[in-house]
């Protein structure tokens, strides 16, 4: 069953009240008082889950993500960020930062572009929270508003626009269908299957609810714990 919630958006400062225009039409950035109006936001129909104890830190998901979306291999353009510290011990040596397609999606709420937000649940792609690059004005509000560390919003320095995980909906360099119901490149290429896709929304209040156990009997046989 589809849930639609009313989300309170917190404001931005008056200093950020700007009006811009473009050939495609006018985009309005609204002040905080107006943004506080509840926003209807349907749930995403897809989520990525990861196993922090399983990832082998090869970065393939990052490079493949950037490749499928942008046609170039890059860490900085990847919608999934894998961090590792060579001098830390398992399991704290690796962190997999995925966009949570949040129920309340602060990055969506904060998007100041009007009348149509640049960052919004996209009904064509299972309400995945997606940034429309044609509408993004590069204000970086979503970057700073994402409550997670590192921010799940990336900054495309060349385009001067924000970008985020779209569950591979917009992957011009992938010859398969992406998005909910399609392929998620990071999950597909992961050599150890440490990333998976689900249609069930993980619990939103729990910080580790997107971290799941994907280790199976083969993993155990390879001499690694499944606990």
């Amino acid at each position: 069953m589809k849930h639609t919630k009313h989300i309170e958006s917190s404001g931005i400062t008056r200093r950020q009240f700007l009006v811009t225009s473009s050939a495609a039409g006018a985009a309005l950035i609204l002040p905080g008082s107006l943004l506080a109006i509840p926003v209807s936001m349907p749930d995403s129909e897809g989520y990525l889950l990861v196993d922090l104890k399983k990832c082998q830190g090869c970065g393939t998901c990052m490079m493949a993500c950037a490749l499928a979306h942008s046609g170039e291999a890059s860490y900085s353009l990847s919608r999934i960020q894998i961090q590792q510290d060579s001098f830390a011990n398992w399991p704290d040596d690796v962190f997999m930062a995925i966009c949570r397609q949040c129920e309340d999606a602060p990055c969506v709420s904060v998007c100041p572009v009007r009348p149509v937000r640049a960052n919004k649940p996209n009904p064509d792609w299972g309400y995945a929270r997606m940034i429309d690059q044609n509408l993004c004005i590069g204000c970086k509000q979503c970057l700073t508003r994402c409550p997670f560390t590192p921010s799940r919003i990336q900054w495309d320095a060349l385009q001067q626009k924000s970008q985020k995980c779209d569950l591979c909906a917009n992957t011009p360099y992938l010859d398969e269908q992406g998005g909910p119901g399609g392929v998620q490149v990071c999950a597909r290429v992961c050599p150890v299957n440490a990333i998976t896709f689900t249609t069930e929304m993980p619990e939103q209040g729990a910080p580790s609810s997107y971290n799941t156990n994907l280790r199976d009997s083969a993993w155990l046989k390879l001499g690694m714990t499944t606990k």
Binding site: G57, G59, S76, S86, A88, A157, D175, P191
Partner: protein, 714 residues
């Protein structure tokens, strides 16, 4: 111009004047990347190619990436090649190579560089700080004396990089220590990643032979003594952080081929075959040489690898160490360990020691065996002919390991005599006989036997002999390990001998296509033209695909693969072969064989450098014990199985132990090899005809000017 796969520029570091200069990659494009580019850069920028000690100020050390680095090409994206004149070999140190994995080459590409050429010598210790286009020289006074792990952590601290994970996005312009250029034009370049740091430890600082370059906890360029080369240049570390990307010519094909590799050639996770015969297609098995210390671990991989071979544990030691360094001390630890757990703990902590000191532990594999013999025979020790105050009576303990590695790294105790090389020390100590008896098993060029004895495994031995170092090229030797293990367990063979050689021969184009006899290692065939063709194939394949394109030696080539119904491996295949990936990334349209031809060109350039260094065929021989003693049957392993034909021409797996090499027949084999390469068989020098065929007339000119151009066969 768009450089698909390439960053487009190469960084020249003038250590003497502390200057960084960018040069265009384009003139070196024909050499592919990695080793090929490095050799070409060495050729252009090393002004004295007669030097035979890598610590000479004229030496040029190149740290090179490939177009595939920083991409998802399976088990190719994360390797990095180092070339230059080495240290500690015998009779001279050749222009040589080493290779390491991890994140360094990826970061270097993303920072906008295809490689680094290190020239000259700094007047005091420095470290290099690369942030995209900005290259900073910093004094390394506070780093000098630190081990490799402490060095990296200190550099992170200097750059205000958070320990652990869950770090914020970092703007490059917010990093400290920048010069006054600022970052106005790049204001929002961001990354969540840690800098990749390549550095030396005490072994490199003291310029000891076999000093390594270390990156992260366990990636090392061990062979060649490049740690000593850096030490001689007063170069402690290079840190690189990049926020860019690499344009790929055909991302769709690249993504598809990567998925085909995973879904067709790699073991299926749902119905896993843990004993598959394949190289690229195994699940992530750790290369640790001891019993596993704990199951609380993850596999840990180089960037882009399809099956990580290292581990990070929860126990606080042994992280990222794999392969030989986890067992350099093994035969001694088991003399004192109370149980398997203690055995593993001491071995892994001893691995940490060599990683931190930055010392290539492979030299200790046969080397420590030899020193132990000298001690036990009353020759080495306190007050003895070879004085040593090390606590030899406690060999096997962690304390001894630390003291030994300290001595070797700092040129103290026996480390002083071993400072020019192990064979040199043997001669100094009057132990030449040990090279004849095999007490010191350093098989070629003053470097140790690898574990694949040249008297049995021919391509390993011949390949090392005709090259510049222990070849460390695992193209074929899974034939030995897989078949011997099956024999040991009494298991049925997954692939019979005839099918095995036939599958290989399909992929041995151009020199040995459909010539299975090249893999006949029987006594009757061991000095043949066929085996010479196999060695040529291996050398040329590796010079391009492994050393230049930087496909991982442990995963490629994939000749046979039991995950595929017809057992044909990924190598050279039309769906996920090496050339498919190369072309998808670069936009080239080379065939598999054309890649090998690039490798032949690189191999010829290398040989030209060796010739300028003084190589002549008379120098090209194994250590005496290889000719004088037999590989004792069953003594250290019950059998060494390999494909052979019997007297009736039928293929079977046969034990190769129990033989030596015949010196005169090896000389005849060398002549065959030289002729096949188009080199002068009297000298081993390249000829003008051969070089000009490969558009290397300028190399022939240089050799001719030096009086070292081979004569064409009349």
């Amino acid at each position: 111009m768009t450089y698909h796969g390439y960053a487009g520029k190469i960084l020249r570091l003038d250590m003497t004047n502390r200057k960084a200069v960018a040069i265009d990659t384009a003139p070196y494009r024909r050499w592919g990347g990695g080793h090929g580019m490095g050799s070409a850069l060495f050729w252009d920028f090393c002004t004295d190619k007669t030097i035979t000690d890598g610590r000479h100020p004229a030496n040029v050390c190149c740290v090179m990436t490939s177009p595939l680095c920083g991409t998802i090409v399976p088990s190719a994206g994360g390797r990095c090649e180092v070339v230059g004149v080495g240290v500690g070999q015998y009779p001279v140190s050749w222009f040589t190579r080493s290779n390491f994995g991890g994140r360094f080459s990826t970061m270097l590409k993303y920072a906008g560089w295809d490689g680094i050429v290190i020239e000259g010598t700094a007047d005091e210790p420095v470290w290099i700080d690369i942030r995209n286009d900005q290259v900073l020289f910093h004094t390394a006074d506070d780093l000098w004396g630190k081990d490799t792990w402490a060095t990296q952590q200190e550099i992170r601290k200097l750059l205000h990089i958070k320990r652990g994970t869950q770090a914020h996005w970092q703007n490059l312009d917010a990093l400290p220590l920048a010069d006054d250029r600022g970052y106005a034009e790049q204001q929002s370049d961001r990354t969540t990643q840690k800098p990749a740091i390549l550095c030396i430890g005490p072994a490199g600082e003291y310029q000891t032979p076999h000093a390594a370059l270390i990156h992260d906890a366990g990636n090392g360029a061990g062979q060649g003594g490049f740690g000593a080369v850096w030490g001689s240049k007063n170069l402690k570390a290079i840190s690189v952080i990049g926020t860019g990307g690499i344009k790929v010519h055909d991302p769709k094909t690249l993504l598809r081929a990567r998925m085909i590799t995973k879904e067709k050639y790699v073991v299926n996770w749902q119905t896993p075959d843990f004993h598959a015969w394949t190289r690229v297609g195994n699940l992530p098995k750790p290369l640790i040489q001891t019993a596993m210390p704990t199951d609380e671990r993850r596999p840990q991989a180089c960037q882009g690898c399809i099956n990580g071979c290292r581990s990070r544990y929860n126990i606080g030691y042994g992280n990222e160490s794999a392969c030989q360094e986890t067992f350099w001390y093994g035969p001694y630890v088991r003399k004192i360990a109370k149980n398997s757990a203690e055995d593993t703990e001491i071995n892994l902590k001893s691995a940490d020691i060599v990683q931190k000191y930055g010392l290539n532990s492979f030299v200790l594999q046969p080397g420590l065996h030899w020193l132990e013999h000298l001690y036990e025979e009353g020759i080495l020790g306190p007050g003895r002919q070879i004085p040593s105050e090390l606590p030899w009576q406690s060999i096997g303990t962690l304390d001894f390991a630390e003291k030994l590695i300290h001595a070797l790294s700092t040129k103290t105790d026996i480390g002083a005599d071993l400072a020019e090389g192990w064979v040199q020390a043997a001669l100094k100590w009057g132990r030449e006989e040990d090279l004849h008896t095999g007490a010191l098993q350093f098989s070629y060029w003053g470097v140790p036997e690898h574990g694949y004895d040249p008297r049995a495994e021919l391509e390993w031995g011949y390949g090392s002999l005709m090259g510049d170092r222990d070849t460390n090229t695992h193209c074929f030797n899974y034939i030995f390990t897989n078949v011997s293990a099956a024999f040991a367990f009494g298991k049925p063979l997954r692939i019979g001998a005839e099918q095995m050689v036939t599958l290989h021969a399909k992929k041995l184009s151009p020199y040995a296509k459909d010539r299975p006899e090249v893999l006949d290692y029987s006594d009757a065939n061991m000095y043949s033209e066929a085996v010479a063709q196999l060695v040529r194939w291996q050398q040329h394949y590796c010079r391009f695909y492994k050393n230049s394109a930087l496909f991982c030696d442990l995963k490629w080539p994939d000749f046979v693969n039991t995950n595929v119904s017809n057992f044909e491996g990924a190598t050279g295949s039309l769906d996920a072969g090496e050339q498919v990936f190369w072309n998808a990334v670069t936009g080239d349209a080379i065939s598999f064989e054309e890649g090998i031809e690039i490798g032949r060109r690189i191999w010829n350039l290398d040989n030209a450098i060796w010739v300028l260094q003084g190589r002549h065929r008379d120098m090209v021989h194994f250590a005496p014990y290889i000719y004088k003693t037999i590989y004792k049957k069953g003594e250290i392993f019950p059998f060494f199985m390999w494909t052979c034909r019997d007297d009736n021409g039928n293929w079977r797996y046969q034990d190769l132990m129990g033989r030596s090499l015949d010196r005169e027949k090896v000389e005849e084999w060398k002549s065959i090899f030289y002729q096949l390469e188009g080199w002068d068989s009297k000298t081993g020098w390249p000829t003008r005809t051969t070089l000009e065929q490969m558009e290397m007339g300028y190399v022939a000119d240089t050799l001719e000017a030096a009086g070292k151009l081979g004569e064409d066969a009349s």
